[in-house]
Symmetry: C2
Subunit: 286 residues, 2 copies
Amino acid sequence: MLLMKGDVVAEDILSKVKKTIEEKKLSLKLTAILVGNDEASKIYVSSKKKDCEKCGIASEVIHLSEKTTEKELLDTIEKLNNDDSVTGILCQLPLPPHLNEDKVIDSISYKKDADCFHPYNVGKLFIGNPIVEPCTPKGVIKMLEYYNIELSGKNAVVIGRSNIVGKPASIMLLQKNATVTICHSKTKNISEITKQADIIVIAVGKPHFLKADMVKNGCVVVDVGIHRIEDKTLEKGYKIIGDADFEEISKKASAITPVPGGVGIMTRAILMQNILTLGLTYQGKN
Amino acid sequence: MLLMKGDVVAEDILSKVKKTIEEKKLSLKLTAILVGNDEASKIYVSSKKKDCEKCGIASEVIHLSEKTTEKELLDTIEKLNNDDSVTGILCQLPLPPHLNEDKVIDSISYKKDADCFHPYNVGKLFIGNPIVEPCTPKGVIKMLEYYNIELSGKNAVVIGRSNIVGKPASIMLLQKNATVTICHSKTKNISEITKQADIIVIAVGKPHFLKADMVKNGCVVVDVGIHRIEDKTLEKGYKIIGDADFEEISKKASAITPVPGGVGIMTRAILMQNILTLGLTYQGKN
């Protein structure tokens, strides 16, 4: 059984990004916008800042109050769109409920859209002519490729249909010539489908949703879920688990990503790669 | 067995489009660009013009020579983008090989993109927040809805993964809560997959690719293919057939679209609906 760890793959990507930035003497800068005081969002933004430092990308965080109006936020983005020193922008989601996420994402120039959330970039991906790619599903694909998992002609089942993971992962697997089935909350007899899968990508946000009796021997499982579950037997009082029952499934799978230590860190590495790509593609061409 | 004919559905759409245009006193205009002398393209453009007349939409065809340069074509589009009287633009595909289709489609304002080929509009569709929708797959969905085919929780199999039909049809079926599998030329054991389908949408461009032994009893088949096949027993010397073997499959299916008389005409009707939608959404807001 192959344990597909993310750290080596992510390090590989980050070091290549760093090397390219140095060699080409690029001046790249990510501006992350954080609205409100969500603790998880703060942690995410601060790790992205650290990754930038590692790669030689300048970064800044604009921290706006919970009560920021839509106009204030859109004005902030407009300024960044027009600031030539800023080559990548991201607005950390989720936003407070009074702000329209679609409108905010739309307002970020697609030329600086580090997350690949802008409809133009999503459309380019869909058409098969991407500029940047969404971080988590691209991380999934990179991981599968790094570990030499054959995708062409394989039955791939994606569980979950979010705009951020499930849907783009399906399209990207399709473009790698997999036969793709997308399952979701309305799917009936899901184990009939997962049992036929050569590759399963799961991103449903439900701890241990995928059980060993739902997969066939030799399948490949990529687990995008991450959950903190109370566990009083541990000193820290909790453990981190995924959407798949790692312990049981790893006895049947030919390859599986651990949680933690799997896809999570890949998302961050691809973000850096996107900032580089945007810089190479558009810098000086606003 | 239910024969899902397109003409009644298309007529229904066209008459609603016409009524809305009259009631709201809209001045809409489609400009179709035709490059070169492809006979099929000429026929398509002229039928679109006729549909416009039916609905009370003004229309014009700009017929450019086979030798038009990319710059000339892009300049023409730019003028139309800036012409407030033009509310919908389409560039009939395929283009002569010296012209870059992606670049041309990108250059059409997404606010006038009647075909829904622009990456921005494709991205909005993918995200689940569409403005316009691509004509043929939207025609497929409208047809299924008109004939009260339940989609939620059903296994839908899409055969073909083109940007114009297969991929968007998959996303649209997914958004109707079907469990969607996308098959293509690299799919192995395709009949194992099609035999489990409640609904099959086929758009592979191969005459009678789908045979009766590949489908289960009671399945629903939507056939997007259209082929002219020599048949000397007929006075006209040919017959029109689809991607599915209608005669045999209709003995097993619970519902099927005929070819001709099925999806084909729907594509044209949805184009008119898109022109209306663009007018309602953007007219006067260039």
